[in-house]
Subunit: 341 residues, 4 copies
Amino acid sequence: MTEVGIIGAGGLTGKELLKILNKHSNILPVHITSNQFAGKKVKEVFPDLDLNKIGDLKFSHHEDKIPDKIPLFLATPNKESMELVYQFYKKEKRIVIDLSGSYRIDDLNIFQKVYGFKHQYPDIISEKVYGLTEIYREQIRKASLVANPGCYPTSILIPLYYFKDNLKYADNIIIDSKSGVSGAGGRVEDAGFSFQNIYENFRAYKILKHQHEPEIFQYLNNYSGFKNNLIFTPHLLPVFRGILSTIVIIWQKENQINDEEIYQKINQHIQNEPFVRLFKNPEEIELKNVQNTNYCDFSFRTRENTTIIISAIDNLMKGAAGQAIQNLNLILNYKEEEGLK
Amino acid sequence: MTEVGIIGAGGLTGKELLKILNKHSNILPVHITSNQFAGKKVKEVFPDLDLNKIGDLKFSHHEDKIPDKIPLFLATPNKESMELVYQFYKKEKRIVIDLSGSYRIDDLNIFQKVYGFKHQYPDIISEKVYGLTEIYREQIRKASLVANPGCYPTSILIPLYYFKDNLKYADNIIIDSKSGVSGAGGRVEDAGFSFQNIYENFRAYKILKHQHEPEIFQYLNNYSGFKNNLIFTPHLLPVFRGILSTIVIIWQKENQINDEEIYQKINQHIQNEPFVRLFKNPEEIELKNVQNTNYCDFSFRTRENTTIIISAIDNLMKGAAGQAIQNLNLILNYKEEEGLK
Amino acid sequence: MTEVGIIGAGGLTGKELLKILNKHSNILPVHITSNQFAGKKVKEVFPDLDLNKIGDLKFSHHEDKIPDKIPLFLATPNKESMELVYQFYKKEKRIVIDLSGSYRIDDLNIFQKVYGFKHQYPDIISEKVYGLTEIYREQIRKASLVANPGCYPTSILIPLYYFKDNLKYADNIIIDSKSGVSGAGGRVEDAGFSFQNIYENFRAYKILKHQHEPEIFQYLNNYSGFKNNLIFTPHLLPVFRGILSTIVIIWQKENQINDEEIYQKINQHIQNEPFVRLFKNPEEIELKNVQNTNYCDFSFRTRENTTIIISAIDNLMKGAAGQAIQNLNLILNYKEEEGLK
Amino acid sequence: MTEVGIIGAGGLTGKELLKILNKHSNILPVHITSNQFAGKKVKEVFPDLDLNKIGDLKFSHHEDKIPDKIPLFLATPNKESMELVYQFYKKEKRIVIDLSGSYRIDDLNIFQKVYGFKHQYPDIISEKVYGLTEIYREQIRKASLVANPGCYPTSILIPLYYFKDNLKYADNIIIDSKSGVSGAGGRVEDAGFSFQNIYENFRAYKILKHQHEPEIFQYLNNYSGFKNNLIFTPHLLPVFRGILSTIVIIWQKENQINDEEIYQKINQHIQNEPFVRLFKNPEEIELKNVQNTNYCDFSFRTRENTTIIISAIDNLMKGAAGQAIQNLNLILNYKEEEGLK
């Protein structure tokens, strides 16, 4: 049993980490922080979680002493995470899984542009491993600092990975993603996330300005060499959980892809992947199949020079807490799917 | 006061026609058909409509005699509409507004492919006017047969119209549309439209196979000359009313568009349009602003060689019944917005 | 055309008043206040309202001078309304329709207990007329100060009125009401009204402590003499509009009520009521039949010594703005349903 | 490991049984039937369930041979269950947990009236144990035939049990229950359960006619001697899971109950109950705290001669499948909460 801590455990991602770890056979949270809830028990703060193992664990203040050496999940805002990674990973030499966006982007100018502040520890950036488990599994096993991927990038980079040999022939990749409110970053006090403004409504946001677009581009380029036009548009669905992405690839010429062949190839490729599911028809991909699971479901269809991929994940699970635990399982040499199935 | 009839008045579109005409100063429905509801009063069938004028009007059987010469709205399925247009427009010389898809597509092969049956009256097709009011207004004034546009095409063809001079420089137009259940054609008895399968869920459907794609292409080509790649993907939202379309234009080269200039130009262009609203930021476009109205709202943003337009309509109003009445207002020489504001 | 003002026009009730008055033939809002929106046009603040007549009207500050003598709607919080009634009605001799709870309760001790502050103008309380139109119509015609009823009381006092001759034989009246979020008084910034806390959720609130319980009791006693046990429990539905009340009457003995007889009697009684609808079966009463209308729908069923009434209204219409305008129509001698059908 | 079967495993209750048993350490489903899905694997039929253990189990036809002696869950309609209990329990001597209503009611006349058919095996009725675990735990341990309680009765009989010593002083118990669609018995093909008819809507149903009212009365009388007036009204919420019941007790006189005293007494009483949670304030009871759990949450408040209890359960868990497995755990001498926490 490995003891761990969660910094920022009072938010949606922290809550999801607690929910998963409650049924994990090998990892036990012993130190969880939230200034808002300090002193309260987990079962008091989250009566909707059915917690037999860790219900009596109490929240600590952020300033309270953390047990030496235990690995930490950082479910903190970007700027805080930037500082905490320096302290916990660099100075205290802990294993750190950072769920924020602060160490994902390599280009400092792009980072500053999309996150709105200058990175203070550029040297550490190159030491992180990007925690997209299916793609960087071997590097993650040996990592001490994992930059856990954004929810939108996870839903996009996983399915595109299986087309990586062809992506050098793609001119444009146009991605239209739709997320439930838990994936869109709003606080319950924001009027924009009130029932009145979400229910029976739908809208796009941060058009051509979302911080996940350069993240997608960087890792897509990294694994496939793609360097052409990539467009990402996020939308806000009137549901609580789940992201569905519609990914349109425009190939340089027709017949770049034979759907049947590539289906067989991918099917073979993912045979041992515990959390990737390929479906025959893209109409079968829907949020309800992935909600509260760690799966990434996808399927695709090609016509002439266009391939459309539909993918879906649960933004709090595979898009955040689930993948974070999947990564720590690898680092600690536990079964990859422990706690997640 | 002009008396009119509605064939197929018991469905969602027929109900919306009744709701609008109840407050119309110049058009009065006197003959409405529905085999399911024949003999019942409108106010009994639709207690949720607040009908002071036509609440006591009774539904007739489809076989019942229709008053001579009155104009007719056809809110009937595609195959029925194909036959009824022949009878009511061709033989009986009535004014007909057909809300089905049966006379929109000019190419007979494409028609048969997407609608699944051979067109029996190809000669009539060329006599119709496509009822996209803002674009074909002058032709509609003189028309006797109007093929009222599909809901998705309306949300897409209106905003793109204001970019028509530039569309010859577009390589790809990628459209991702999301519709509430009332725009997706399901019947209340379909398990796919049960609460259980829609609520807290989201999915794409008819991927690369939707009958509205060739309709969009035909009229886009007609008014702009665009003939390159067009991709349309419809999705099903867990809401009742409204369509939001995300339209990505990939230009042949950068700087094809200056947002500020084109904003001013469009603003000028639509000054007298009663139902088109241009917004400064595409993030302002949302379903709740157009639900239960006849508006088409849109806005856009450009980066390098890409322009993203976001548009929204109410699928039952501007996307069906509202536009149908807007068109009949024009034909009968009434004020275009009568009954619609 | 009578010019009127709306104090506090930026909230949900103010918005509903604007929506109705936009299509009213005889009443025109010329002065509307909201510190938050001062200087902005109505159509900018509420793009989801389709306003042809008053879209360009601008919001004023609360301090701005109000045209002399025009009648005013007060859509202000309780304490503000208490003061404003003194100023506008008592000092400036205007006609005032107060939509708050500040002048509804006659008993000063009860008032202080449920509203949490001492009433400063007890003398004015007895000058108000309670604006439950169907019951106090003749008094309202002659009123200058109308205390417009609460939304829950409206849904309860209207149907019970038609049983008033029997209510002296009732021992207990147990009312279980369920309201959409717009009827429950929350602001969009309250975490309790966030999408996350309302959607796929349901709860009761203010149990045995809601300020509408004494309001219901006072007027029920006033029109029927009922003085026994009355219990009211409000609940919060995951919908936006509408209240459904389940009213259980326990009679002193069996056979107090013959459903068929009383149905005929009520049917007769409401024949000329423009906004009361009686249904045969209580299962037919549902929110969707009254949303966006000024109707109060109800039905009932009796078994032995128990009668269950189910009623429904739209809380923003008949439960607030609609009834307020219905009352002003009466005072100004316009057609009672003008603007409301 | 005990092998079991599920008859009628293709519906919502069957699906929930499969979901729970997938993570049960001691009970393994080996034979599951559904004519609709016969031949298919569980993971194909329910891709939204994350099934590691039983995903490859195939559905059988109802006629297929069932392994000898294994205990069976009956998730079948009332009439079928009546027959199957005779066959499986009486003739084949199996342990049977019947989730239908067919063996719950002792009075044959009442049974016929509320279920609409005559009971064919009256002798068996007296052999069943009613499976309300918290109340009949010791009898259940020794039972071979369990009539698993209805979802509404579970939400009502559990909290009332802790008031049983006082209920002889109650005159009236008025219960207003609200259920998500999964508890209201509709099939996805019923128009009444379409998204269009549930969403942004609310209504009561089966008023004074619901089959669960006599079930509640019978067992309430059984454990407390209550024999006065009991009224139960069910309502349909626009959510998928969960029941919240508002239970109003009218005592014969005031001061029958001291809230603080009874709170302490109940708190003591439930100390070892794994699935009963008492809250301080009835406003804290909400659906989201019990969804996807086996808990029954409740709280209460008294004023003069009235006590209001608010309770909540998940209708598919504690209201059906969860409680069924809790009962089989008792019979098989496994830990009561196995598979349920």
